[in-house]
Amino acid sequence: MSERSARRRADGIDDATTAPPPGADQLSEADAAYLAGLAPATPTAYHRQNPLTKATAATMATLGAFVLGGYVGPLAILVLGVVPGAIVAGLLGRLVRLAALISLPIAVSVALVSVFTRAGETVLFVIGPFDATLEGVDFAAQIIVRLFVIAMALGLFGLTTDPRALVVDLERRGVPPRVAFAAAATLETIPAMIERAQTIQAAQRARGLDTEGSLGARVRGVMPLVGPVILSSLTEVEERSLALEVRAFGRPGRRHLLWTLPDSGRQRLVRWLLVGLFLAVAVGRVSGSLPAPL
């Protein structure tokens, strides 16, 4: 994205925050307070940061962990960036548990695949056809550190940002309402579909379909599940879209949203600094002016 377009977009945001939407002057103080109360709760200073700021921080931490590689870079991002944020947000313990839970299965895979199969000079021990090498352990550890840092950074974003807040903020910044709708609607669709899948699965178990046991049994158990779950969701599409159109969904142009989230010049500066820092690191790494990853 070019600097110029980014600045233009930023200016657009300023218009939205400083110039009141038409008719807003007639809004009583009580109504304004009520509407502000509809926005998702933000209990701590970190929660209160604009969703885009938190998203930028998480993305740059993720990309930074990739580009830096090794141990020192990703761990520095974790200790200097993610952990302080999590402490401010008061959910360090919860975040560590979430990140561990998410990265554990893939970490186990990484450990098994890399430790035992990576060719190397120093063989540590041998199990059956597999020799564990020091190089394999090193490689696996690097990948696992990186995966954990990514899970922490994105988990912090997720735990401190209500998805509705992110979607509303993106729409205020010019993301088409249709895209915003698709993103926001996904939130509710997934639990609904899981519920539906479980209902159908329970019904089919009651009719004697097997979802455990041998591969053949599992395939036979899963296939009758897929169709009904998908079909029952799809049959709703027509009525849902008509109901939305009746609510003027297709109308082009901007909407005046009931609540928005505060942003500040300071936060914008922080965002650009984070992006700049990442770009500097990336250029440094590619050009070789940064030392090799440790």
């Binding site: 186990v108 895979s109 890399s114 199969t117 995966l147 997720g158 979802t211 998908i230 939305l244």
Partner: protein, 370 residues
């Protein structure tokens, strides 16, 4: 036909020349990325790798082309936004039905990808049914955007929930490619049912489908054994574990081929042959694009049943990149062919009245019954 569909009364600002500039800038941006990409990975190595029978540079090249397409599209959208302050020419592709379908498609991807994919414990992912459905019914651009959005939402919007995955977004470009290809295949009628096909075309179709699968096996899978010294070398030195894996893969591929042919003749529907060809192509392209991403980002591991293949190929002596590519060339065509079959069967059960109301529905599935 759709005489009453709303006329487009929101003429683009900027008109013809505006859209010409956008396309031009998009194409230039895409070409620039290809040139830059090739320069950074070194010139495309056209020599054929004797082990994999693939052009040595094809792996990175596919990823570069995919990124170039994405950058070109973003450049196009950016210019349109600067010109008109809106993204009309893109959002116009999304009617309300498609917009309502997208969240459901994403939910299908995630729910089936996480529950069915892991429940089956097979080296398939089954996480693109929704994306392919949107691509076929709504067109290549909505399909690509659904794939892209699905993975971004999976990571960013859902990251605080149990359904989130912080590792989904690097593969957003693969998901976009899957949706794009499904849209293109849909446009050319690959997903159209062709019931009561006479025997001769049916046999021809089966031959083509088997040919595609066989050449895939020959070029994509057989080299893995050769490289891994499983076949043609001293079997005594090879661990039984790897021989077992090789045999299992071989059986899986042959079984898939047999099942597809049986399905083809059972339904007497030439459409199945089209689907096999489309799914196989989609699988190969997906493997080419995702292998470098997977290798660089995750050390070639995804946490699913496919990891055992990567491990085997690496242990057998392949380097990481090659092992991941070989795994992809085995898993992805099987996965995508099965997914295409699921979508094809699904489209067959949906009423034509329903599918015909999507932007590309009538073209892709056929007209409504009388």
């Amino acid at each position: 036909m759709l005489a009453g569909r709303q006329p487009d009364n929101h003429e683009e600002e900027g008109g013809m020349s505006g859209s010409f500039i956008r396309v031009l800038i998009g194409v230039v941006a895409a070409l620039a990325v290809i040139v830059l990409g090739l320069a950074s990975v070194g010139a495309l190595d056209p020599t054929v790798d004797p082990d994999t029978f693939l052009i040595a540079g094809s792996n990175q090249f596919a990823l570069i082309v995919a990124i170039a397409l994405l950058v070109g599209f973003v450049a196009y959208a950016l210019v349109e936004y600067l010109q008109t302050r809106r993204l009309d020419s893109i959002t116009r592709q999304f009617d309300t039905r498609t917009i309502v379908l997208i969240p459901i498609a994403i939910a299908i991807n995630i729910v089936l990808g996480q529950t069915v994919g892991t429940a089956l414990k097979m080296p398939v992912y089954m996480d693109s049914i929704g994306t392919i459905l949107v691509g076929v019914l709504a067109g290549p651009i909505p399909g690509a955007l659904t794939g892209l959005l699905a993975n971004l939402i999976w990571t960013f919007v859902l990251s605080g929930t149990p359904f989130g995955s912080p590792y989904a977004w690097p593969f957003a470009i693969v998901a976009a490619e899957i949706g794009l290809l499904a849209g293109i295949f849909g446009y050319y009628g690959f997903f159209r049912s062709r019931p009561n096909t006479p025997t001769v075309p049916l046999v021809l179709g089966a031959a083509v489908a088997i040919g595609v699968l066989a050449s895939l096996a020959y070029f994509g899978i057989l080299p893995a054994y050769l490289k891994g010294a499983l076949i043609g070398s001293d079997l005594a030195t090879v661990e039984p574990f790897f021989i077992a894996i090789a045999v299992i893969i071989g059986i899986a591929v042959v079984l898939t081929a047999i099942l597809l042919v049986v399905y083809l003749f059972l339904r007497r529907d030439l459409g199945v042959a089209y689907i096999v060809v489309g799914g196989a192509i989609c699988g190969v392209v997906s493997a080419l694009i995702s292998a470098p991403i997977s290798a660089v980002v995750f050390g070639g591991v995804t946490g699913s049943g496919t990891d055992i293949l990567v491990a085997s190929f690496q242990q057998a002596g392949a380097d990481l990149q090659t092992a991941v590519l070989q795994q992809g060339l085995i898993s992805d065509p099987i996965d995508k062919t099965l997914t295409y079959i699921v979508v094809f069967a699904l489209l067959g059960t949906l009423s034509r009245r329903f599918t015909a109301r999507f932007p590309q529905g009538e073209r892709a599935v056929g007209t409504a019954e009388g």
